[in-house]
């Protein structure tokens, strides 16, 4: 892998250039709530030590709410207008390994058979500039789902903080190489030994479970009190799903624009909501919170794996950190692991 060095100052120039070249640069907000569009060098937060934001950056590829069609009423006729969807040149700057893979993982569901243009138009052109992660708390479990704080998986370019002023820039993919080409002037030659040493010093979070073992247990233990125990205290909000970098369920609703036109919206939805699966007849296949929590766990650690060969979790721990009632997904899955 090719490696270069970029200084902090040059990184600012680089980002300013990107913005000038019509890239949409997205970075983590300094308040650590969500990700925002960077408008200038002053907004840059590339930090290997900061906590993952409350809400991941998936909203830039899979919007929390967006129109999928517009309709106009003309006498007895409806005109359907497709929303303009300019191909965006998104750049995710400073994505930790637990964020960097999110687009890749979600892209499987948005592209099996039918292809979701709204996702693809943003995802396909996006560049992920990852950063090695030096943050760790009890909720991190990236190693349990096949990632690590130092993995470049999912990133096109990968930053390793060398010292206060400099980053090593690893060129991971062909796309990344092509992308960085016009900005060579900000790079100097790197020395792989140093970044290797730094990366080797980063401690891995403890591995809490084996996904294959968990998946197998889930196959055989559909009914288990472990889910009901969580269901007892789960309040059924969507925090976990909405903060998650890979949760991708959505709702489709119509809303008015004005008196003769409207738009059909695609909105985030969550399997923890009681109304998610409620049938018109009043029948609800997942009528208790325990069953809904089981769906969440099984979808992440079994169904998605069976279907798309991918664990639907990056181990970022956002759902656990933010859960209003302290449900820790890693704890639950680790318990399953110990049962298996």
């Amino acid at each position: 892998m090719e490696e270069k060095i970029i200084s902090l100052d040059n990184l600012s120039f680089f980002v300013n250039d990107l913005i000038k070249d019509n890239h949409i640069v997205i970075g983590q907000d300094s308040k650590e709530i969500n990700w925002k569009r960077i408008t200038g060098a002053k907004d840059i937060v590339v930090n290997s030590k900061n906590i993952p934001s409350n809400i991941s950056y998936k909203e830039f590829v899979f919007a929390k709410t967006e129109p999928i069609i517009y309709y106009k009423n003309k006498k007895d006729e409806f005109d359907i207008v497709e929303p303009a969807l300019p191909r965006q040149k998104l750049v995710f700057l400073g994505a930790k390994p637990c964020d960097a893979r999110s687009i890749e993982i979600m892209s499987k569901v948005f592209n099996w058979d039918y292809k979701d243009k709204f996702f693809n138009e943003r995802a396909e052109g996006s560049i992920v500039i990852g950063v090695a992660c030096n943050y760790q708390d009890k909720f991190c479990f990236c190693t349990s789902v096949g990632l690590s704080p130092v993995t470049e998986k999912g990133s096109d370019l990968f930053l390793v903080p060398l010292d206060e002023k400099n980053f090593a820039l690893q060129i991971v993919t062909e796309r990344g190489k092509e992308f960085i080409q016009p900005y060579q002037k900000y790079l100097s030659d790197g020395n792989q030994a140093k970044s290797k040493e730094i990366l080797s010093k980063i401690k891995n979070p403890e591995k809490r479970f084996e996904t294959s073992k968990v998946s197998e247990w889930l196959t055989n233990n559909f009914e288990h009190k472990i889910f009901d125990n969580v269901g007892d205290i789960c309040v059924g909000c969507g925090q976990c799903a909405f903060a998650c970098p890979v949760c991708h369920c959505f709702d489709i609703v119509d809303e008015e624009c004005d008196y003769s036109s409207g738009r059909r919206m695609k909105n985030w939805d969550a399997c923890q909501f009681g109304l998610f699966t409620l049938h018109g007849s009043g029948h609800n296949p997942r009528e208790t919170q325990g069953k809904r929590y089981r769906q969440r766990i099984a979808h992440k650690f079994k169904y998605y794996q069976d279907k798309f060969d991918e664990v639907l979790c990056t181990g970022c721990g956002r759902c656990s950190r933010g859960c209003p009632v302290g449900i820790d997904i890693a704890e639950v899955v680790a318990e399953i692991n110990s049962l298996a």
Binding site: I68, I69, Y71, N73, D76, E77, F78, I80, E82, V109, F110, W112, D113, Y114, K115, D116, K117, F118, N120, E121, E124, F222, H248, C249, F250, D251, I252, V253, D254, E256, G262, R264, K266, D269, C271, F276, T277, L278, H279, G280, S281, H283, P285, R286, K291, Q295, A298, H299, K302, Y303, D306, K307
Partner: protein, 279 residues
């Protein structure tokens, strides 16, 4: 460009409306766009998303037979926001349609076999599609039996067709209503569908059973069929789960490893048994 907008509906026009029961209607729909109409084809058992602009979309199976390609029909019960809006529409109004989605009944493989159709309530709609498909190609199939039941006489759908099927000599049609649901001159059976299936006792040899109806009916009918000797692979049903996209994206209809909208809605009992009980 990475493909077209998969959420964009095609405009259809309502050409006929039949009031099946007090709260159930059947629409006959035609594509407004000629070329769409020409290129459109579907198979028995597939479904579509029917939309009223400003209200939303709702999922129903295509209730007409693929052998009659000049139109599609759908039947629905007025329950929620979209179905209420649909109920208010009149002949000539527009409906948005996306589809066809999902898999289909193995009509090709059923050829040369006996077929038993068992349906309850509005569950006749998806079965009707296969019934007409079968009847339009009557010579390809052996014995055809239709067992249909509803809560009461007033809840029977497709009454005209039921009469037509009853009059036909080449098929056996049994219609039943739940006890207490009959009318004075009722000439059909009285009793729950599973009991009537047991009474009619279609032979299992070289036979495919297509079952659709409320969960409770399916639950009690399947043991009866198994007692009659039907193999699990020869009992076919179609599942209904709440759906929004119909494209295997929105995650609503996900049950176990399958998305009902993509991998279903048609499942054999053998497949269904493998799924978690979440439908």
């Amino acid at each position: 460009m990475s493909g077209s907008n998969i959420y964009k509906p095609e405009m259809m026009e309502i050409t006929d409306i039949v009031q099946e029961t007090s709260d159930t209607k059947t629409f006959r729909l035609k594509f407004k766009n000629e070329s769409t109409a020409k290129s459109f084809s579907f198979k028995a058992g597939q479904f579509g998303e029917y939309g009223v602009f400003g209200e939303g979309e709702s999922t129903f199976c295509i209730a007409s037979s693929p052998t009659r390609s000049e139109y599609i029909e759908c039947s629905f019960k007025q329950i929620g926001k979209v179905t209420t809006a649909l109920t208010r529409l009149r002949v000539g109004d527009s409906v948005g349609f996306r589809g066809p989605y999902g898999n289909y009944f193995p009509v090709e493989e059923m050829k040369g076999k006996n077929v038993v159709f068992i349906a309850g309530g509005i569950g006749l709609a998806p079965v009707r599609c296969v019934i007409w498909n079968t009847l339009d190609l009557r010579n390809d199939f052996k014995d055809v039996t239709i067992i249909y039941g509803a809560r009461s006489f007033n809840d029977l759908v497709y009454k005209r067709e039921l009469k037509e099927w009853k009059e036909r000599k080449d098929i056996k049609t049994v219609v039943t209503v739940d006890p207490g649901g009959e009318v004075p001159d009722w000439d059909g059976e009285i009793g729950f569908v599973p009991a009537i299936v047991e009474k009619v006792a279609p032979k299992a040899e070289n036979t495919v059973a297509i079952v659709c109806g409320p969960p409770i009916m399916i639950k009690f009918t399947i043991p009866v069929l198994q007692k009659l000797g039907f193999a699990e692979e020869n009992i076919i049903t179609t599942l209904e789960n709440r759906m929004k996209c119909g494209l295997g994206k929105c995650g609503r209809c996900n049950v176990g490893n399958v998305y009902v909208c993509k991998d279903g809605p048609v499942f054999t009992y053998a497949q269904m048994k493998e799924l978690p009980q979440e439908y």
